[in-house]
Amino acid sequence: MSVPFLYALVGIGLFCLGFHGLIVYDHLLRKILAINIMGSGVFLVLVALAKRGGEAAPDPVPHAMVITGIVVAVSATALALGLMLKVQAATGHAVLPGKSRD
């Protein structure tokens, strides 16, 4: 098993782990962190699979995609955190209604 392939598998693992966290946890901060972990997993897959055989330089296109993706992720996280604070101010809890509170 080559090293880039291992990284890609770790990326898939992070994606699944984040998905699990998003579903299981009620607190919105945990959900937002879980989404970020999923995003990191996808970015890791992109970076790892950019490796080309032998001594050739890695493919730059996926790297450019990751940079764009990070910009999107930062904006999305900022919006999510702002919205979470608003939800907490309006309802007193940073959880979505209809769920048990922990």
Binding site: M38, L46, V61, L79, K86, V87, A90
Partner: protein
């Protein structure tokens, strides 16, 4: 003059105009209302310009900055893109007209920049031809849509927006992972190149699963529709109109493009699954709509049902290509116009009575005849009664189902129509009578009523425009009718 007009990069204008307009509205909040309406009219004329260009010169290509694929970003428009762009421009103009009367000054300054950015993002999405650019525009659409949902604050709107944000981010990430796998497998994100290179393999299957699941979640197809009713029902009326009419269609459009370019040749069973989920959506969404006691929730569940019809096309397309795809085109545009009109009418009812409880609607027909008329006209198209765009769509769909002996789908289409009649008349019936608790009417600006009438009339009128619509749809052969096709 004509030569210059047909040379202009109309597609580029469709992206730049709303972006510039949005920034201008942000910088000059005092004139935001006038600037916003001006921008929406310019977008509409640019869409008409692009349509004219397409009909005279064929597909539209523009390499942004002169770079060209694979290094740069290419804009591309064929008949299908044009349909989506014209739909967006029409609904966008109607919503902008409506919004000039709807918002109070405090919310107004936040609405216009976000809405025009959303409009620009939608146009960019419909003009994109590569998977990664589609991802970026999809995120732009999602984030601005969430911000608009939360615009007026309040418990329901905020929690609805939060749920919507989490669902939309999850959907985008699943889509992006699919893009990563496809790029690894075939070395490109360009849709045309991919369609040439793609061969059935585990990588393609994984990508198909991830991308379809993500996009279905964002399109709110049953059973992944849980986020739609709370978000669409608690947003301000013009925002609900945009969300139901345009935003769910954006992810649907990407799924359709992926399907046409990559997945249609390699996956027969998935089409059946899409059809099954679509049938589930039609029945479940309609039944839920019938059970609602508030107008906006009823209209939101009706969106869940109408999205189902779009997915019924997939299992019918292999045997009945152009009939099925034309049905989809009709359903897309007529639902956009009718549903936007319905949400606007619901917003008018809310302003008029201070609530949107169906049982307490008080003599609306007598006191707010234009709004009641708009709701009724939009209802005609949603039910699929002739003459209307909705009728044409459902009729073509029925033809495709009958020709292939798919009696199960015929049954679903009929039952969906009957249930739609049920929920539309549930609202209309209560608009004629006096409510147990009467109230004094609060005046609704005329432009808000006319905007709803305009879009509802549009949904009826496109029922008469079948030949030009179909001619435009075939520019660039987006459905592979003449090319490889089955």
């Amino acid at each position: 003059m004509q030569a210059i007009l047909s040379e202009l990069p109309w597609g580029l204008f469709l992206i730049l105009i709303p972006l510039i307009g949005g920034i201008a509205c942000f910088l000059l909040p005092v004139v935001a209302r006038r600037l916003g309406l001006l921008t929406a009219s310019l977008v509409l004329s640019a869409a008409v310009g692009l349509g004219w260009q397409l009909s005279s010169r064929g597909v539209y290509h523009h390499a942004v900055g002169g770079w060209g694929a694979p290094l740069g970003i290419d804009l591309y428009a064929d008949g299908l893109s044009l349909l989506m762009l014209v739909m967006t421009a029409l609904v966008g103009f109607g919503v902008s007209l409506y919004a000039t009367g709807y918002f109070k000054p405090g919310h107004l300054v936040r609405f216009w920049p976000l809405w025009l950015l959303l409009l620009g993002a939608l146009n960019a999405l419909f003009l994109s031809a590569d998977l990664f650019n589609l991802y970026v525009t999809l995120e732009l659409v999602g984030l601005s849509a969430v911000a608009l949902t939360a615009l007026q604050g309040g418990r329901d709107a905020l929690t609805g927006a939060m749920r919507y944000l989490l669902a939309t981010l999850l959907g985008s990430l699943a889509y992006l992972l699919g893009v990563a796998l496809l790029y690894h497998g075939f070395g490109t994100v360009d849709l045309v190149l991919l369609s040439e290179r793609v061969v059935p393999s585990p990588v393609v299957w994984a990508a198909l699963g991830l991308m379809s699941a993500g996009l279905i979640l964002k399109t709110a197809l049953f059973p992944l529709h849980f986020w739609l009713p709370p978000a669409h029902a608690s947003a301000p009326a013009p925002v609900s109109a945009v969300l139901s009419a345009l935003v769910v269609k954006a992810s649907f459009y990407i799924l359709l493009r992926l399907w046409l370019a990559i997945f249609s040749d390699i996956s027969g069973d998935v089409a059946g699954l899409f059809g099954l989920l679509g049938a589930g959506a039609v029945l479940w969404g309609s039944l839920q709509a019938l059970r609602q006691t508030r107008v906006k929730l009823l209209v939101a569940y009706s969106t869940v049902a109408q999205i189902g019809y779009l997915f019924l096309v997939y299992p019918l397309a292999p045997g009945m290509g152009i009939t099925a795809w034309s049905a989809m085109a009709y359903l897309l545009i007529s639902h956009a116009l009718a549903k936007a009109a319905m949400f606007m009418a619901a917003g008018n009812l809310m302003q008029f009575g201070g609530h949107d409880r169906i049982a307490d609607l008080d003599r609306v027909v007598q006191r707010l005849p234009l709004t009641a008329g708009a709701f009724a006209l939009a209802g005609v198209s949603i039910m699929g009664l002739p003459p209307s765009g909705g009728f044409n769509g459902k009729w073509l769909l029925l033809q495709a189902a009958l020709a292939q002996g798919r009696w199960d789908l015929v049954g679903v289409i009929f039952l969906g129509g009957v249930l739609a009649a049920g929920y539309v008349f549930k609202v209309l019936g209560n608009t004629f009578t006096q409510a147990p608790r009467t109230h004094e009417p609060i005046s609704v600006p005329a432009r808000m009523q006319w905007a709803a009438v305009l879009l509802a009339a549009g949904a009826i009128l496109i029922g008469f425009l079948s030949s030009p619509l179909m001619a435009l749809l075939e520019v660039g052969d987006p459905f592979n009718i003449n090319g490889k096709g089955p």
